[in-house]
Symmetry: C2
Subunit: 366 residues, 2 copies
């Protein structure tokens, strides 16, 4: 197979159905994080993810899997994506059902397909390194029955990420290895040990595999999900696909691809990389990866006049001015009908705050 | 003269041309404090001032003196006021030129006129007491060549107000007295002494006099201003009035009525009153006169979820929710394209902040 032919079998699945309240009031239930233009670049995280894949695969082989609630916003943000490339999940499940459906869908279109599966709401600063890593990873999974995850070189003992422990290298390049173990989010002490060993990498949630490989893994390691989707054999890639999905998908268990497959399979590999990556999972993560003033303040898009403020993240719309004094280590986030002024150190409470806002003031505010 | 005839000679001048940046971002250069509905009652402070005078005098004898910049907003807020009752100052001066012009204007309409002159941006909670005080004061000034100011019973040693020291009572009612002295804003120690003597009252900026009395006082105590407006004799109350004013008014000195007349004249009296009054001159003043939660927080119109906040004033539009944690003694004021988060104790800096905003970001923000 020459390079062009290989490219013609390469698909990308962008998972963009997630909801998330941790960035409230910037993210809203009808406009979660992946649809936001966090950095004022003019492109949302989803759009950036899409753009980033264009050198790897043709647009007609980029599949978006999302919740039906986000159909309109996806049409608005990515009007160039063909209708048939948007897979609308009829119910909120976790990543395993999403991955399984997408693999069936793609396999029906191309039995030789390999797939890059990506979250839609992460930050990647080193784009050309990303391209090299993906291309190398695709070559690797196309060469056999292999499940590959990208492990990111950790830059701090972060307790908000899962870690992957690398095992023996495969081949001679040295940056693809067998996975020795997956670990849940560690405590700080453990994370420091992880970092010191040099064996642990952040679990990025980016995966590569052949369509047939991942479906074989479902059959073996997550037969419950496999059985549900196997029943659609013959419907995938046909007009009957959505009829089947609307009926079957809600029966799928809510389970992550890590838990369903990656932590169990024996053909799992990790490709290590340094991508300038953040999952932007929290206001703190956004704060960490943003440029700072000498007083360690961060300004997201808006105009700010800060007197005697330190370590504070200001986020508002570009036409807004925020004047603040005396804030230390705060989030100030203003968007539409909601304003949040909260200590950065207590951001884990924001999820609960949003639930309280919903209960007391209704869904217009979340 | 019977009551009805008296009423037909009673005029009210509402001074509503003031600009003021201390309530930024609620007050804006194109919508100063008097045009704001601070308490969410559906009526602005100006509208409330107008409404409050209706039992005292007929609407056709309520004159608004304002800056030409505010013509549109006055038309919007008080459409029932006749065109000829809106006096548009062609330049920003202080209160003396405003008072002098209005007196000439009214005298030309009615040589028997008495005038209540009022600021447009104060809070008065005890409305029926206000009516009694005004009616009694009008009777007093209509009976002679007297200049009367209302002195408010002080409820605290406030350092933001001027004080009036009362002298000998006039007549037997006991609440109208000669003025012994006017004082500038005192320091706290002095204000406490003032309070303890029982002789000092807050200078409200509300005045009553006959039109001819105040003009006689101008001739005697502020001949510079008097000369400028005396030149318009014959034009007042005619179509030529505005032609004259547009030419003459800008030549008037910028001087307050207190400084020009009240502190110098020997026929100045004070009527003491307890009106539930605040000049709402500062965020702190607004805070002080607003109902509070057990944590001493104040909510102006908007929805608030405050965790671990104390002594904080939240002001935003009614459809906005503010979620805040850990703020002690702050102003949080959000309006349009500007958000202010500032320690209440430092509010005297807000004026300077607004100047800085203007210099750095332009007039759209002030």
């Amino acid at each position: 197979m020459d390079a062009l032919e290989k490219k013609s079998h390469r698909y990308c699945v962008i998972m963009c159905g997630g909801v998330g309240s941790r960035f409230w009031p910037f993210s809203r239930s009808n406009r979660p994080k992946q649809f936001l233009d966090f950095f004022g670049t003019g492109r949302s995280l989803l759009q950036l993810t899409y753009d980033r894949m264009l050198p790897i695969t043709d647009p007609e082989r980029i599949i978006l899997v999302t919740n039906s609630a986000y159909y309109d916003i996806i049409r608005e943000q990515l009007p160039e994506v063909k209708e048939e490339n948007i897979l609308l999940e009829p119910a909120r499940r976790n990543t395993a059902p999403c991955v399984c459906w997408a693999a069936h869908h793609i396999l029906a279109l191309d039995p030789e397909a390999s797939i890059v599966t990506l979250p839609s709401d992460h930050l990647i600063l080193r784009e050309s390194e990303f391209h090299s890593v993906i291309l190398k990873g695709l070559e690797f999974v196309e060469g056999g029955d292999r499940l590959l995850t990208i492990g990111l070189k950790p830059t701090s003992p972060h307790t908000g990420y899962g870690y992957i422990q690398r095992g023996e290298p495969v081949g001679d390049a040295g940056d693809i290895m067998k996975v020795k173990s997956f670990t849940e989010k560690p405590n700080l002490e453990m994370a420091k040990v992880f970092l010191s060993t040099g064996e642990f990498f952040w679990n990025s949630g980016m995966f590569m595999w052949r369509a047939d490989s991942i479906l074989r893994a479902f059959d073996k390691y997550d037969p419950e999900t496999a059985t549900i989707f196997d029943a659609g054999e013959g419907a995938f890639g046909t007009p009957g696909e959505m009829v089947f999905i609307d009926k079957a998908f809600p029966n799928a268990p809510s389970i992550s691809i890590d838990y369903a497959i990656m932590e169990k399979a024996d053909n799992v590999y990790v490709e290590t990389a340094d991508l300038g990556w953040s999952d932007l999972g929290t206001w703190n993560a956004l704060y960490d990866c943003s440029p700072k003033t000498p007083e360690r303040n961060v300004t997201q898009n808006c105009k700010v006049m800060a007197h005697d403020c330190e370590g504070t993240l200001f986020a508002a719309s570009p036409d807004k001015i925020v004047v603040a004094a005396g804030l230390k280590d705060y989030i100030v986030a203003d968007r539409g009908n909601a304003l949040l002024i909260y200590p950065l150190a207590e951001e884990q409470k924001i999820r609960q705050v949003v639930n309280e806002v919903l209960a007391r003031f209704g869904e217009d505010y979340v």
